[in-house]
């Protein structure tokens, strides 16, 4: 939710570790000082002893000045969700009662980049700011930009300061880690898939059932208890008896997205996961506007699912789960059971998959057999793979392509709407094709 404050409960692992690190200079001063004193005694000349005394004194002073008190750092007005490549601002509260004047604060950002800071601070790099502490609380306004979609984190803050002579580095890790969901840039979808069955909540879909609504369904003779406003007076005057209009109620539907992130890393197939997530984010956003209940199943290193729901908190949970998708391989035995449980009637299950794993085809087959309304967007694999080197590899690639084609044809023969999405096509193209397929199929079924 852009602009919302970060929920403290979403912070994890409070850190408060203090450590000191001596510089090479400190070790050199102390060791050199001791050696100088001993050498002065050995050679019977005060010259090395004088130098040793001075070096030792510098080392001791450097040690004394390095002890500084705790600092307090806290983030304020952190957004829970931001769109990728968007800049946003948040506040950083800083307080240190005494100690070193110049401090470096590594804000521990991942998936973000600091752009600018206001106030007494100075930006050193994409994660670190430098400030001069005055002994009074400071409020620093920080501008950051989000990087490609995913889960960004900020904190804990590593506060680094030097002793007055710079001989001792003091490093303190303070604060908590905050999570920010970076969602992909919104894709405008002109066509959306409608579920065949609706549920009982009010929505935009015209239900096949009869009830209170605006869409005309049929005529029937008047029965006791019928609303007089439903009487069709024109038909009734011709028939000589009372007839009433029957209407279709407007209902919403359940949409479950199944995002398949099971690709082998290092093969260039990671871009398929990126496209799947972008498409899923667009679908979630578009269907949420139509008041559908939304569910999500992600298959990557883990099988995670969220049952259909429609509250704001529920949508936030969906986005967080979707942004956590990364390429990986799931345990199929557990995943299959979980998917069957989460993707049940009357949901429309939209599967986003490269269909690279026969287990995925088997899963779709299982869902189809259990009567689940589903549609499959198959992400084109060949276009993102580098050309095979050598005859053996080319042959292997051809066999693999044939195997995938066989799986696709098998699903098509079972009546599963499946469309291949090429990388050059916008996201609306496969959805339009699927919508056309489903309408034709529905007409064919009558």
């Amino acid at each position: 939710v852009p602009g919302a404050s970060a929920d403290p409960s979403r912070s994890s692992h409070r850190f408060d570790a203090l450590s000191f690190e001596s510089t090479p200079a400190l070790r050199a001063y102390v060791t050199g000082g001791i050696v100088g004193l001993i050498a002065g005694l050995a050679v019977g000349d005060p010259t090395p002893a004088i130098l040793g005394t001075v070096l030792l004194a510098i080392g001791v002073i450097g040690l004394i000045g390095g002890i500084t008190p705790d600092v307090v750092v806290a983030f304020r007005e952190l957004p829970g969700t931001v769109t990728e490549e968007d800049s946003f601002r948040f506040l950083l509260d800083f307080e240190a009662r005494a100690g070193a004047k110049v401090m470096h604060l590594d804000l521990g950002v991942k998936g973000l980049e600091l752009l600018a800071v206001d106030g007494a601070a100075r930006l050193l790099d994409e994660s670190t700011i430098s400030l001069v502490q005055t002994g009074h609380p400071l409020v620093i306004e920080v501008e950051a930009v989000s990087r490609p979609w995913g889960r960004a984190t900020i904190g804990p803050v590593t506060v680094r300061s030097d002793s007055p002579m710079g001989l001792l580095h003091r490093s303190q890790v303070v604060g908590a880690r905050h999570h920010i969901s970076v969602i992909p840039t919104e894709i405008q979808l002109r066509t959306l898939l409608d579920p065949l069955e609706t549920n009982l909540h009010v929505g935009d879909l015209v239900s096949t059932r009869r009830g209170v609504g605006s869409e005309f369904a049929d005529l029937r003779p008047y029965q006791d208890g019928d609303d007089p406003r439903a009487v069709n007076w024109r038909v009734s005057s011709r028939a000589g008896d009372l007839w009433v209009n029957e209407r279709h109620p407007e209902r919403n539907g359940d949409i479950v997205l199944l995002v398949d992130g099971q690709v082998e890393t290092g093969t260039g197939l990671e871009t398929l996961v990126d496209r799947s997530v972008r498409m899923a984010a667009a679908l979630l956003h578009a269907h949420a506007r139509r008041h559908h209940r939304l569910g999500l199943i992600t298959l990557d290193g883990l099988c995670r699912w969220v049952y259909p729901g429609s509250s704001e908190a529920h949508r936030r949970r969906l986005v967080e789960q979707l942004m956590g998708v990364y390429p990986g391989e799931v345990l199929w035995e557990a995943a299959e059971r979980a998917v069957i449980r989460a993707a049940h009637r009357p949901s429309l299950v939209v599967v986003l998959t490269p269909l690279a794993d026969p287990n995925m085809a088997a899963l779709i087959h299982g869902l189809r057999r259990s009567g689940v309304d589903l549609s499959v967007v198959e992400l084109e694999v060949e276009a993102v793979l580098s050309p095979p080197v050598g005859e053996i590899r080319a042959l292997g690639r051809r066999i693999w392509a044939l195997e995938r084609d066989r799986l696709r044809q098998r699903l098509v023969s079972e009546g599963v709407p499946i469309v291949t999405w090429h990388p050059s096509e916008p996201a609306g193209v496969p959805l339009a094709a699927l919508d056309q397929w489903r309408k034709t199929w529905r007409r064919r079924l009558g």
């Binding site: 050199g32 100088g36 002890i67």
Partner: protein, 173 residues
């Protein structure tokens, strides 16, 4: 930014090796100073190798070696080419720049504080060394003016240490 960091580390490393080379060149050339000369240049080589290879102990090794060189040279009749305060100042400069080179391989440099630190500590070390030399000479010569200056220096130094100590204790409270 990484290139800047690397540039800072390289620059300070070169300055450090240059300082060590100056100290090695300050060793007087005489018939008996060969071993001191050798140790001084070995220390410079060790420092250079440590800075290139990222071995932090090289700073300590070079410092100890150069102090041993000073100890050996102090036994010669031929005096060093530079006074003790200059030797101390250049040694501190060598240590500070070498240390800064290591530190700024990992941390983003703050140019102002870096320059201030590299320049301040050698000046302090040189001044303190000269004060101690004067104290020593004063003790030997028993001159009242030198004694007064020496005592004043001790009082000032003690006051400075007490101030730093007081601040750190106040900070802890």
């Amino acid at each position: 930014m990484e290139e800047d960091m690397a540039a800072t580390a390289r620059l300070t490393a070169a300055m450090s090796v240059a300082g060590a080379a100056v100290l090695a060149l300050s060793v007087p050339l005489s018939d008996v100073s060969g071993i001191a000369y050798l140790i001084a240049w070995a220390a410079t080589a060790v420092l250079a190798a440590g800075l290139i290879l990222g071995f932090r102990g090289a700073v300590t090794a070079a410092t100890v070696s150069l102090i041993l060189v000073l100890a050996v040279v102090s036994t010669f009749e031929t005096p060093s080419k530079i006074p003790l305060w200059a030797f101390a100042g250049i040694l501190a400069f060598t240590i500070e720049t070498a240390s800064a080179s290591f530190v700024h391989r990992a941390l983003v440099p703050d140019p102002l504080s870096l320059i201030v630190r590299i320049l301040t500590t050698p000046v302090l070390v040189a001044l303190a060394t000269q004060v101690l030399v004067l104290l020593l000479v004063g003790a030997e010569a028993a001159g009242s003016l030198v004694r007064v200056a020496g005592m004043a220096s001790v009082v000032v130094a003690a006051g400075w240490v007490a101030r730093v100590w007081g601040r750190s204790v106040e900070g802890l409270g």
